[in-house]
């Protein structure tokens, strides 16, 4: 093995959960007043807390970056970065000792993590599987639909926050709307599943009532919290 001890440092990628200080009103007196009030309620939380300031909501207004940083430092917090600055504000912000962060469209995903409202989640691209899903395999399409163009064998599990389409025999388990989306559906050409479920409402193979469908596609959907299986 190559010796790690040879080098003086190593660069690694890592993720950190951080608090974002979203500015709604750039007037320092108002910020100072609200800060004092907020900190009183939870002093330990703010002590030495690293902050990233977000000024996207007050874009276009005049912001005293140095003053803002000072106010935050006075309150014993540690502002070290800023995002949402426009190009002409960048210099001033950097001069105040704040690192510039890119504005990411993550507001939606943040709120989704905080409160799982299925409608507000930013949808990820559809996952497509073309190899047979073998026994013991679990596939989870997070915030996405799942399309499987292969058999789903007995003992395999396909889970999606969105809908599931199976273009091959469905013999394993299919769980759509895994995070609570009741509008998710399951589409398949042959339904011999061990278990199907939409948003937690499930049915096992013993109780499955599969209608005659002559090879047409079947769809499974939730109506009044009951699973319906119909031929398309």
């Amino acid at each position: 093995m190559s010796t790690v001890a040879d080098c003086a440092f190593q660069l690694k990628a890592d993720l950190f959960p951080l608090t974002v200080f979203c500015v709604h009103d750039p007037r320092l007196e108002r910020i100072k007043a609200q800060l004092t009030d907020t900190i009183q309620k939870a002093p330990k939380y703010f002590e030495d807390a690293p902050f990233i300031i977000d000024v996207s909501r007050v874009a276009g207004e005049d912001i005293d970056f140095a003053g803002l940083a000072a106010v935050l430092k006075e309150a014993n917090t540690k502002p070290f970065g800023i995002r949402g600055v426009s190009d002409d504000q960048k210099e001033a912000a950097a001069a105040a000792g704040l690192a510039l962060f890119k504005q990411t469209p993550s507001a939606q995903t943040e709120s989704a993590q905080a409160s799982p409202k299925a409608q507000n989640i930013a949808k990820a691209p559809t996952r497509i599987i073309t190899k047979p899903v073998r026994a013991g395999t679990k596939i989870y399409a997070k915030n996405a639909d799942l399309i499987i163009i292969a058999p789903v064998n007995v003992g395999a599990e396909c889970i999606a926050d969105g809908s599931i389409h199976v273009y091959g025999p469905l013999r394993g388990r299919a769980l759509a709307g895994a995070s609570g989306d009741k509008n998710a559906r399951i589409f398949c050409q042959s339904l011999d599943a061990e278990l199907i479920a939409i948003a937690g409402h499930y049915q096992v193979s013993e109780h499955l009532q599969v209608p005659e469908h002559n090879g047409h596609v079947l769809q499974v959907f939730l109506q009044d919290n009951k699973l319906n299986i119909t031929s398309i």
Partner: protein, 277 residues
């Protein structure tokens, strides 16, 4: 280039060791230097089936732990038909599978690849350490399946593992070459609906079929005698393994249907042969 072949199934008792023994023997008879390794640490059987149980001095675990060299552990098969090409590396009977390490197994297999054309790994049943180590370094796999539901489901699980938890899968190399061998096949029971048909199994597993070995009493006799059943070219099972070897090495060999050869036999015999359970 040396090839590592794992003989696996998931389900126990389907015919992995029987197949490993005959497959390795068949390759040796065709002139290839072959070694067959028993990965069933603690429950070794390969040495019995190969007829060398009284010559085991050192085993796979001894080699991994450095108590012996590979050459000290390798047992040469005495059968003249194998032309001195066949060697066996037995498993330990007193230890268990926890002593197998990835590095240890890798070292043994790499050393064997230097002198042998084929390294056959006889996997134990299950999906734990022994089976995982047996399949990890494989280039090809023989998936042994009985024509019944639980065996097919377990084989499917094993196929999933072959495609995800092996060196080739983890390093993104070309995938393991998979071959299906259906064993203990009885055409009569398939026709009566008790057993799954070849078409059903192929449909469920989706792996190319290498051969079908019929249920055959000679397998037990061979195991008792310590001579792999491929030596018995009068038995259906022995002939089936010979066909499998031929196909593996690239020949086109049609499968023998029981109906064709059974017709004349039934015409002249008094039904003395009973179908085994």
């Amino acid at each position: 280039m040396s090839e590592v072949i794992v003989v696996t199934s998931g389900k126990g008792g389907v015919g992995k060791t029987t197949t490993s023994a005959s497959f390795a023997t068949g390759l040796a008879q065709k002139g290839y230097k072959t070694v067959v390794i028993d990965f069933d640490v603690g429950l070794r059987n390969l040495d019995l089936v190969m007829g060398c149980e009284r010559r085991v001095v050192y085993d796979l675990v001894n080699v991994i732990q450095g108590d012996a060299t590979i050459n000290q552990a390798l047992i040469k098969d005495k059968n003249e038909q194998n032309k001195g090409n066949l060697f066996i590396l037995a498993a330990s009977q007193t230890r268990d599978k926890d002593v197998l390490t990835k590095e240890g197994v890798e070292k043994v297999i790499n050393e064997l690849k230097e002198t042998f054309d084929y390294v056959i790994c006889d996997s134990p049943a299950g999906i734990e350490k022994g089976a995982h180590m047996a399949m990890y370094f494989a280039d090809s796999a023989l998936i042994v399946t009985n024509p019944e539901v639980s065996s097919v489901r377990d084989s499917d699980r094993i196929l999933g593992l072959l495609g995800s938890k092996t060196e080739r899968a983890e390093k993104g190399l070309s995938p393991i070459s998979e071959h299906l061998i259906i064993t203990r096949y009885s055409e009569k029971r398939v026709n009566s609906g008790e057993m799954l048909s070849v078409a059903d199994i192929k449909d469920l597993l989706g792996v190319p079929l290498l051969g079908i070995v019929p249920e055959c009493q000679s397998v037990l006799s061979a195991s008792n005698a310590g001579a792999p059943v491929i030596h018995d070219q009068n038995s259906p099972a022995g002939k089936a393994y010979a066909r499998i070897i031929a196909r593996f090495l690239g020949e086109e060999v049609p499968e023998e249907s029981e109906k064709q050869k059974g017709f004349l036999r039934r015409l002249f015999k008094n039904n003395k042969e009973k179908e085994t359970v």
